[in-house]
C-alpha cells in the first residue's frame, strides 16, 4: 500500500509537471482534474484539521489539564460558530458580525502589539549581538524608516535618493532570495515527485 501511495504521488506530480512543458489537451484535462481533486482534498484537510483541534482540546477537557477551561471555550466557540455557519451560511450578517467582532479585532491586535515588540527587539539587538550583520540590518532599517517617515515639514530631504539607493540593494538581495527560494522549491518539489521525500506518509 505504501508503494501505491508513492506511485500515486509520483504519477500525479509527473502529470502536472509534464503539463507545463507539453500542454497537450488530454494532459491539460488530466492536470485540471488532478488540481480540482487537490482543491477538494485541501478543503477536506481543513475539516480534518479542525476536527483534530477539537479532539485535542476535548482530551484536555476530559483529562482536566491545566488549560482545560480555555480549551472548553475554544470548543464551545468553534461549535457555535460552525453550527451557526452551517445553518446561516458564511455570508450571513451574524457570521460577518462574528468576523468583525472577534476574528479581525483579535488578529489585528495581535499584529498591532508587534509594533511594540519590534521596537523592543530592535533596542535589545545590539546588546545581544554586535556584528556587521546586526549593525547593517539595524542601520538600514532605521534609514529606510526615516526615508518613509512623514514629517510636518514634508518628506525629509533626500528621501527619494535614500529610497532609490536602498531599493537597489534591497531589490538585488530580494531577487537573490527569490531565486534561492525558487531553487529550494524546485529541489524539494522534485524530491517529492521522484519519491525521495514522502511527506504524505509513504516513508
Amino acid at each position: 500500500m505504501r508503494v501505491f501511495a508513492i506511485a500515486l504521488a509520483i504519477a500525479s506530480g509527473l502529470i502536472v509537471v509534464v503539463g507545463y512543458f507539453y500542454p497537450v489537451e488530454p494532459l491539460l484535462q488530466l492536470r485540471l482534474q488532478l488540481t480540482n481533486w487537490a482543491m477538494i482534498l485541501a478543503g477536506m484537510t481543513v475539516l480534518v484539521g479542525i476536527y483534530n483541534l477539537v479532539a485535542v482540546h476535548m482530551e484536555k477537557i476530559r483529562t482536566r489539564q491545566k488549560d482545560a477551561i480555555y480549551g472548553g471555550l475554544l470548543v464551545l466557540s468553534l461549535i457555535i460558530t460552525f453550527g451557526m455557519g452551517l445553518v446561516l451560511g458564511p455570508d450571513h450578517t451574524f457570521m460577518r458580525a462574528m468576523v468583525d467582532a472577534i476574528i479581525v479585532p483579535v488578529e489585528a491586535s495581535l499584529m498591532a502589539i508587534l509594533a511594540v515588540t519590534l521596537i523592543y527587539a530592535s533596542i535589545r539587538l545590539l546588546r545581544r549581538r554586535v556584528d556587521a550583520m546586526s549593525v547593517v540590518f539595524l542601520v538600514v532599517a532605521v534609514i529606510f524608516l526615516v526615508a518613509m517617515m512623514p514629517t510636518p515639514f514634508g518628506p525629509i530631504p533626500g528621501d527619494q535618493l535614500i529610497l532609490q539607493f536602498t531599493g537597489m540593494f534591497s531589490r538585488g538581495g530580494a531577487r537573490g532570495l527569490l531565486i534561492g527560494v525558487a531553487l529550494g522549491t524546485l529541489l524539494t518539489g522534485l524530491r517529492v515527485i521522484f519519491g525521495v521525500d514522502r511527506p504524505y506518509g509513504g516513508n
Partner: protein, 224 residues
C-alpha cells in the same frame, strides 16, 4: 443596540484583552486568543463546507457522469477522515499523496518558469542599455543593474556552503567564496533591514487601525 455596535464593542473589548499581553501574559489574553481560535476555526469550517465541499463535491453528484468524475475525489476525501484514527491513518495516505504530488508539481513548475527564468532574465535585462534612453539615465540604469546583479549573485553565493578541508584539518570555505559570501550577506542584511522596516510599518498600521477603531467607537459611543 444594533449588531454593528455589539460587534464594535466586542472588538473593543477583545482588542484591549489582547493588548494586555504587553503588560504580561494573563487570562484575559488567553481567553481572547482561544475564543479567536475557536471562532476562526468554526468560520473556516463553514466556509469550506459552503464554498468548497458543497459546490464542488456534493452538489455535482446529480448526474452519472459527474458522479464518475467525482467518485475518486469523493473516496479520497473520505479517506482523509481515516487520518483521525492512528490505527487506520494509512488509508489517508493516498489522498495525501495526490495532494502533495500535485502541489509539489505545481510548485516546481511555478518556481522554474515563474521565478527562476523570469528573474534571471530580468537580471540580464538590467544591462540592456538600449531601452534606457540616453544620457544620465543610461549611467543610472547601468549602476542600478550592476548593483542588482551583484546583489542577486552575491546573495545566492552566500548560500553556497561548499567548503574544503584546510591543511590543518579545519573546514573552511574557499577564501574567494568566503569573501563573496560575506558581501552577499551584506546584501541580505540590507534586504532584511528593508523587510524589517516594512514589517514594522505594517504592524504600526495595524496598531493605528486598532487604536482608531477603539477611539472612534469610544467617541461614537460616548458621543464625544
Amino acid at each position: 443596540m444594533s449588531m454593528e455596535i455589539l460587534s464594535a464593542l466586542a472588538g473593543l473589548i477583545l482588542t484591549l484583552m489582547i493588548f494586555s499581553y504587553l503588560i504580561g501574559d494573563n487570562p484575559l489574553f488567553r481567553i481572547a486568543v482561544y475564543l479567536f481560535i475557536g471562532v476562526s476555526s468554526g468560520y473556516a469550517a463553514t466556509v469550506v463546507w459552503h464554498y468548497v465541499l458543497v459546490p464542488k463535491l456534493f452538489s455535482q453528484l446529480g448526474t452519472i457522469n459527474q458522479l464518475v468524475l467525482l467518485i475518486i475525489p469523493l473516496i479520497l476525501s473520505f479517506s482523509l477522515l481515516a487520518k483521525l484514527s492512528p490505527r487506520i491513518s494509512w488509508v489517508g495516505n493516498f489522498a495525501m499523496a495526490v495532494l502533495v504530488g500535485v502541489g509539489a508539481a505545481v510548485a516546481v513548475g511555478g518556481a522554474l518558469i515563474g521565478t527562476l527564468l523570469p528573474q534571471a532574465q530580468a537580471a540580464m535585462d538590467a544591462f540592456d542599455l538600449g531601452s534606457a534612453g540616453g544620457g544620465s539615465s543610461v549611467f543610472l540604469r547601468l549602476v542600478e543593474g550592476t548593483v542588482m546583479f551583484l546583489g542577486t549573485v552575491l546573495t545566492l553565493a552566500s548560500f553556497h556552503f561548499s567548503a574544503g578541508r584546510a591543511p590543518d584539518g579545519t573546514v573552511k570555505r574557499n577564501p574567494v567564496f568566503e569573501s563573496i559570501a560575506s558581501v552577499g550577506r551584506i546584501f541580505i542584511a540590507i534586504t532584511f533591514g528593508v523587510l524589517f522596516a516594512g514589517v514594522y510599518m505594517a504592524a504600526l498600521t495595524a496598531m493605528i487601525e486598532r487604536l482608531s477603531s477603539i477611539i472612534n467607537f469610544t467617541r461614537q459611543f460616548i458621543g464625544l
